[in-house]
């Protein structure tokens, strides 16, 4: 039987906004996401392993726990590579179908996010690359600053529609536009 990958927000977003505004909510179609949970007292070894790999995008979740993102690798190859890299020091679980990535960018992102997020978003307080778990509205998300005026949210699949609605409402003041990015996921 053929397994067809379908994005959880497919029916909600469709072709997205007709016009792209300065503030834009982008949903990358294909992104590989894995959780890494360090074994007790192996946190430093896991961090060293990540540093050795070089090209991995790490997101802090909790002490000894991370989300790893890849925009180029497929989910199975990311999981295999991480498992090989972190043998005996961490557990790796593929979450590509379980989480959804949303990317918010534009000059007004901080004012939009401030309506749902209770941390200091000032550039000096939240540096590029920094990431935390937090509550956005009533939904737990992994939150990261990925660029000067760009933030990425990783949310559990079943909360994605709800978070999307919240973000669009928060961004209505600024005519926030939205849409998928990246090609269609491979059908196999």
């Amino acid at each position: 039987m053929l397994f067809q990958s379908r994005h959880p927000l497919e029916s909600k977003i469709g072709s997205g906004s007709s016009i792209r505004a300065v503030d834009h909510l982008e949903i990358p179609r294909s992104v590989a996401i894995a959780t890494v949970l360090s074994h007790p007292d192996e946190t430093a070894a896991v961090v060293a392993g990540f540093a050795a790999a070089g090209d991995l995008v790490m997101r802090n979740v909790a002490p000894g726990e991370w989300l790893v993102l890849s925009h180029i690798e497929r989910s199975d190859s990311l999981e295999r590579r991480l498992s090989g890299l972190l043998t005996d020091i961490a557990d790796v679980v593929d979450q590509s179908e379980g989480r959804v990535l949303l990317r918010l960018s534009g000059p007004n992102v901080r004012r939009i996010l401030a309506k749902g997020v209770a941390i200091d978003l000032d550039p000096s307080a939240f540096a590029i690359g920094q990431s935390v778990n937090l509550r956005c509205g009533h939904i737990a998300v992994n939150f990261a600053r990925s660029g000067e005026n760009e933030f990425e949210l990783v949310v559990m699949r079943s909360f994605a529609e709800s978070l999307l609605e919240d973000l669009l409402l928060m961004g209505r003041e600024f005519d926030l536009s939205y849409g998928f990015s990246g090609g269609l996921a491979d059908p196999d």
Partner: protein, 92 residues
């Protein structure tokens, strides 16, 4: 209730991100302790005025159990430590 909690892992967060999981000063009795002692441990709670030690879980953040020392009258938070670290330190 104290409205801002300084999570040792996540930084300053509003209390809405946490759930309070009860008194942290209780010590679990030995398995063969008297019914009286177990009854005390499981059911009997004080409602103290002033400084208290409680378990808080950072449910929307790092999901860790924390030991929060706070004042129920002034809402001042004295200290927040990771639960595992507090247990290892034997500071119960």
């Amino acid at each position: 209730m104290a409205s801002l909690i300084h999570c040792p892992h996540c930084g300053i967060r509003p209390k809405e991100e946490f759930t309070v999981r009860g008194d942290a000063s209780l010590v679990r009795p030995e398995p063969d302790a008297s019914d009286e002692a177990w009854h005390e441990y499981v059911h009997i709670r004080a409602n103290p005025r002033g400084r208290t030690r409680e378990h808080w879980q950072h449910l929307y953040g790092c999901r860790r159990f924390l030991v929060v020392e706070r004042d129920t009258v002034t809402h001042e938070v004295y200290s927040v430590t990771d639960g595992a670290a507090a247990a290892r330190g034997g500071s119960r």
